[in-house]
Symmetry: C4
Subunit: 245 residues, 4 copies
């Protein structure tokens, strides 16, 4: 086994992966604390955070270079989902040009790599399989929901534009109300005040709230269905084995 | 094949339909942008939008006339769901009488025709079939929900009418609270302030929120059930074919 | 057939029942409009509504007396759910003592009788059967939810009582927050402002929101399960009949 | 049977357990009322509540000592879930040091013991079994939700930090918005005001709201699945018995 193959075994091994996963979590926590302290005018620990940032940058850069180095098809890796995430999380920190510094926020993307943790990769796969199973219905429901958001916005714009021109003066503004209402968030920053608008909201809310809740139910059912079938095939395998014995 | 049959083949073909679907989407986007710019006192691009509106009007009018022309049973088409939508979306723009102009907003109805896009007509059909499957339960739940909205409004009106006469002074006004509460939107424009009203809300909320969430769950279950049965019949068909081979 | 039996056949027949159902709906609509007009200082149509009220009172009183008269077991009817509802809806209007007048609002209870409409009595029965099917789990979930409301109130009272003594000063007051939060209504009249309270809310919200959504899902599943079994038994019945033929 | 065994039979019997369950409920009600009266400057019934508290303290202390006494493996009981709860509910009241008095609020933990009530221990067990059945998917969904909360907070912080520095100035603060939005509570204390923030919210809300609703659906499906299987096995047992007869 040559050196590159050995290195690949280490980098793709569970210990190295585990350490990186842990570092990603720690860097996320540091990121949160740092953003909290940025509001302080004078932060006595500022240099500590700068040093921590540099350490994380060096570690994740080395890891990125290692991953590219051990990869036989380098191009595929660099342009893969996780390859791009890694690059986006590292690159902006390397350039010291002030305009680029705002993009350092992209470091938060790194958290996506937690998905690859061996601990729940199976469960995430199941979620993915269930999503694929219902993809047609899901697509139709998403498009229906978008249409519903649009139609609700058109309607409320018609009813409320004169009473509240700053909130419902255009369909685009009314869409904000649509989203906040149909997801049942209801912040309370915008709501109808005319009788027509309230009646329209009542109509739209009952239908729309139901519409938007369907996908979760579908996914839950699909996951349950998959579990039941998995169990059945396990049971029949056991039976087959017992009959063979 | 005569000219009319040829024309019918073109108009009902996937290319023509695709172009119209695309134009509907574009006109919806233009509609949104236009409504956004209406608030500007002076819009330098106003003439552009007027021209775009006229172009869409001409295109959709031609399409409507074509559809009527190729249809053997013209009357059925004109009074069908999509026939009426098309007419409502075109007519108000043809009349230049100021009173009618407000109805030009009905152009947004056109988006309903996206339903007929070949891409997800199957999924929409499935949704429809699932809805038919649960129609009895759905009807009962809708009537129960309406009754619940009414009863909740009567109750809160009783508890809050003296404390907040402007929000709960009549059952009709209280119904607005009912809708906003039972859908869990909770804008925060109206809420009980008396102890009795709060206690009543607690009772009503737990039951009502559950009641209103049932239809989505029912529909999701029905869709899953249909998918499972579809799979089974596909599997048994395959088996039959294999046995025949 | 004696006169009483004839009368019973009429009163329990679908025409009489339909008329009463219709009258109940009309009286509910009148009730809503009347409560809306009560806020007017001078209502020119006030006498009209007084007359309508008297007409409804007379009609429903006659209907009540008829129902008692035709009933063989009068006592059972009077103390049944619908018997008590009917009485509560009529009695307060009969007494002209001012103190009793406030109870005239109980007329709204009459709407409950819509449940008995032949059109969706089957669907309501199915809902009832599904509820009985899941009653044990439902009871446990209701008690769990009540406990959760209590525990969440105790917790937020601990975190917020010093910061917001008027909203979270006692557990009873905090329970209002519990209800509004766990049902995800979120009016916005009370919300935590301390860091501890916000963190506690985050914990409580994710668990509690999920907990409270389970019963609807359970009921939806039970209804679907019942539908599937109904279908199966119908199919097997058909098969049996075909084999017999 | 020696005295200890007799005592054990009594303490673990249904009468003693029932009395304790009842006392726990009563003490919870007293706790709520007491916290409500604490706001009164002068409470004429204050001594009554102090006496009640002492009575409850004595009763529950005796019960705790009894339980420890009858337990063969004392250590296991003291460090078990219910053992710790009992201790936490009693201890702070025993110390009269003022600093400890604030911990007397831990008395509310006692309510957890209601879970052990014989009446719904079966249903709670079923809930537990269903939770274990879906534990893998649940874990993945919880971690996905936490990641989603974090990512949403990072995103909204980026869009809103300049417009609303006090609400979205740090990721930690933005997380409060994440929680309130993704659970659809939507108090209305924090919400985006920039176009970018609103658009981001729309994206995040539709996905996140669906994501967070999945676990309830999963649990409801698992409970239904368990019920169906329970029924089947009961039916097949009956059949077996009938065949034997």
């Amino acid at each position: 086994m040559d050196r590159k193959a050995k290195l690949r075994a280490i980098v793709q091994g569970s210990i190295f992966t585990g350490i990186i996963q842990f570092l990603i979590l720690v860097s996320a926590v540091v990121f949160v604390i740092e953003s909290d302290r940025e509001r302080l005018e004078v932060d006595p620990y500022k240099t500590h955070f700068v040093v921590l940032d540099i350490i994380f940058l060096v570690l994740f850069s080395i890891e990125y270079i290692l991953r590219v180095y051990i990869e036989p098809r380098k191009r595929d890796f660099v342009f893969s989902f996780y390859g791009i995430i890694d690059l986006l999380a590292i690159l902006p920190s390397l350039f010291l040009v002030p305009g680029f510094r705002v993009l350092r926020i992209l470091r938060f993307l790194r958290i996506f790599r937690i998905f690859k943790a061996t601990r729940f990769i199976l469960a995430v796969d199941r979620l993915g399989a269930a999503l694929r199973e219902i993809q047609r219905e899901l697509l139709a429901l998403v498009i229906l929901s978008l249409m519903f958001v649009y139609l609700a916005a058109c309607g409320i714009h018609f009813f409320e534009r004169n009473a509240q021109p700053e909130a419902f003066g255009s369909i685009l503004d009314s869409m904000w109300w649509s989203v906040v209402t149909l997801t049942t968030i209801g912040y309370g920053d915008v709501y109808p005040t005319t009788s027509g608008g309230k009646f329209f909201t009542a109509l739209v809310a009952f239908v729309g709230v139901g519409l938007i809740a369907i996908p979760s139910g579908l996914l839950a059912s699909a996951l349950t269905q998959a579990r039941v079938e998995r169990k059945k095939s396990e049971d029949s395998e056991k039976e087959n084995q017992e009959q063979e014995d």
